[in-house]
Amino acid sequence: MTLPQNQSPAEFEYYVNATSIEEACRALGDGTGTILAGGSDLWVQKDEGVKTFGPRLINISRLEELAEISIGNDQVRLGARVTMTDILCNNELGKIAPGLAEAANRFASSQIRNVATIGGNFANASPAADAVIPLLCLDAEIELARLDGNAVATRSIPAVDFFTGPGKSVRAADELITAISFKPRDGKSLARFFKSGPRPALEISIVSLGIVADISDGKLSNVRIALGAVAPIPFRARKTEALIEGQKIDDNLIAAATDYLAEEISPIGDVRGSAWYRRHLARTYLQEALTNVA
């Protein structure tokens, strides 16, 4: 028995199952590559024909060197192929990056968490990417590799500068995301992640909000606030951060900060939520995060 199924619109002319970063970069060299890791975004987009794909399919899903989580005193490094399940199952990460663990916990479904990668969440560059938000709050850096002559050359850029528009980033067509790194924050930090959707699982966030800050004497410092689905790219609320920075958290400040945030963001209204509702959610999440500190 054969089930009738539609032919996929995307066609590939070349396929490689890369066994090293160098091999993957070499295959990407001419800029017409399509990178396959978990496939959870890629195969949907391919079948829906919403994006055009380079004809060279480059499978990085066996690259062990991209699957490592290394946790040092000064730096946490997540290989690009680390999955949401990997993040969720790592107790250490839950302590030093609780916002990231919360985001992984709210990510899609069990089956998708098992394959969806952190690098893919960046590469796909959705304005609503859940795992990106807590990493923006952690001042994460994205490591990109490409072949320069015969050697692999890498560059690092701040995650906040990575995105340029919906589905678009500064990653060049011949570059491979190899890692995401950040400095661990200590236990006294505030680190939260919120997202909303009609049900707890498998929802594209209507709004997501992450906040990270150091707490001392009821004051917050090194405040980072990032939001998903309120702008064409994952958004850092720098003005609201500046308003809160170094201030004593009380009811007046919370009221001012939530008003300020609602002004600072410029969400669209769409089928998932109106602009008014998105502002309302953003205010509510910031209020909840700050009220717990006050």
Partner: protein, 157 residues
Amino acid sequence: MSLKVEIAFKLNGHAVAQEILTSASTLQVLNRDFDLAGAKLACGEGECGACTILVDGVSRNACLMAGVDLDGRDVETVEGLWESNGLDPVQEAFVKSGAVQCGYCTPGMVMQAKYLLKPGKKLSRDEVLRGLEGNVCRCTGYHKIVDAIVAVSGETS
């Protein structure tokens, strides 16, 4: 015409090889090339779980997996549960609880249950519900599905 490549992998315990289209999903490969209809196409975008299979012991949506990525993997579909011993204990539990209505979601539910169940670990209803987030039953017969998985959990084999 898309490029074809030869893949070799373990399917329900048996070594298999097949030439497939690079544009094919794992679900299409299982359905078309291996005549296995257990993993089902419903949404085709990872929302419903009807195509859930185990790959290297981990559950995933066959519709979202590139067929070429099957190469070298150890794949288990619902058909692999049968073999010569009759129904798997999870399938027995589904029958006993009346957890099968139209049956379309059942192979996916059963395979996700196989992933959730660990020998000797009793699962709570909440743990089962959480684990089934990615599986939709449009007959909405969730209670009996959860009953079945809770009942069979905690067994040692």
